[in-house]
């Protein structure tokens, strides 16, 4: 039953699998994003309060969602790496951090750009989500700094996994504390009892963007993990064989 798990953990097998998977994630992802961008910018109706400014949610919401998903993946992969000593999981965690940090930055930047016409300011300390997102960015920075400071890869993997797990326990607490600290944001409209309180013309492009971003993120992650695996396994036989083969072919 666990053979697929062990097979997945073997770097050459994963390398070949990722090679096949990447186009299946990236192509539909980019198609969905293309539809979402077009429909979101041109077809979706104007918001009756926010006018055209709301359209930035088509980038903001998927980025914010992925910034948190990437941290979860990073922590879970780190945990798997610690518990089952699976090297591939550590490679996933290592590849996840810069991607997650980038999406966090994108979410902060788009939130700030949206805030300028809406709140009349680039930055609003009273907004709990913006503040938690900023703390999340700092968590990513800490994780990457710890990785960068340890020269030995195996040690860096384990130490950063512990940090990611401690961070993952803290993320809900940070969120709660910041929420308690202040609340001045419009409530969540997508997930609400009795269906979403959002016009379908606005919703479908948003869903397309969320799925599109997620698929593209998956593709990028696999590509990064593949490079990471190559870097880590650069002295092994299978990498040499593969390189020789690709030179001949």
């Amino acid at each position: 039953m666990w053979t697929w798990f062990h097979k997945l953990a073997s770097p050459p097998h994963f390398y070949a699998l990722a090679d096949k998977l990447i186009p299946w994630l990236s192509v539909p992802g980019y198609l969905l994003i293309a539809y979402g961008v077009y429909a979101g910018l041109f077809i979706a109706p104007e918001d009756y309060q926010q006018g055209d400014a709301f359209r930035i949610i088509y980038v903001h919401v998927p980025s914010a969602y992925l910034s948190m998903l990437a941290y979860m993946i990073m922590a879970i992969a780190g945990g798997i790496g610690l518990i089952w000593r699976m090297k591939l999981a550590h490679a996933v965690a290592a590849s996840c951090a810069p991607l997650g940090a980038s999406f966090t930055f994108l979410a902060l930047a788009t939130g700030s750009i949206w805030g300028r016409p809406m709140w009349g300011t680039w930055w609003e300390w009273g907004d709990p989500r913006l503040t938690s997102e900023l703390i999340l960015l700092f968590l990513y920075f800490g994780y990457m700094a710890l990785r960068g400071a340890i020269d030995d890869t195996a040690k860096a993997d384990k130490a950063s996994a512990v940090l990611a797990l401690v961070g993952a326990v803290n993320v809900p607490i940070i969120h709660f504390s910041v929420e308690w600290w202040s609340s001045l944001h419009q409530g969540p409209t997508l997930i609400k009892e009795g269906g979403p309180a959002i016009d379908p013309g606005m919703l479908y492009p948003l869903l397309a963007m969320i799925f599109g971003f997620s698929l593209v993120f998956g593709g990028m992650l696999l590509r990064r993990v593949r490079t990471e695996v190559l870097r880590r396994e650069s002295r092994t036989r299978w990498v040499k064989d593969m390189m020789l083969q690709s030179q001949e072919g």
Partner: protein, 232 residues
Amino acid sequence: MNAADAMSPGLGSALAGMIKRDLLLAWKRPGDILNPLFFFAMVCTLFPLAVGPSVEQLEFAGPGVLWVAALLSMLLSLNSLFLSDFEDGSLEQLLVSPQPLVVLALGKTVAYWLTSGLPLVLLSPALAITFRMPADTIGVLMTTLALGTISLSLLGSIGAALTVGLHRGTALLSLLILPLAMPVLIFGARTVSLAAAGDVFSTGIYALAAYAVGALTLAPYATAAALRISNE
């Protein structure tokens, strides 16, 4: 039961022994305790000098300033938590000792709190008075600082264990710990501000107490794991 088990002391005496040893070490080097305290007092002095002596402003900023200063002062002393043990090799002795590393890590953290957190709590009223904090608010300040420094010591012990033996440890340690410490700062400073304004502040105290209990339960395991990783 083999001979080693029969000879080794129980968990309680291992914990007590660890605390006693670290307290004794701290007693022999009083500078390590005093310097962070001076730092705490000086940061608290910087703010009125930078902002101006206006009473309303000082009353308003007081809780936040005291809390930020306490947090920074804890960070300053955190780096040395495992450093001397790492350098003279006694940390490796702890790793191979028959006692569980979790208990020993907890003992070290308790001793650390007694020598760095508790003095801050005891010094804080003197500084709070200079910020014109009313007497009953000072009680709240001391409670939040006591609970908060327990959490910070435990969180910090994880960071100190992860970075022990690394170059540029202090800056890295701050980068790791500060984002994790933000809930403690928020609950601590906000609770004191609420108390000073005469509002309901029990939520913050409960949250800080819950955080301290949670950290006391979980953090020693993370610290022990981190110590093993750092000493591989």
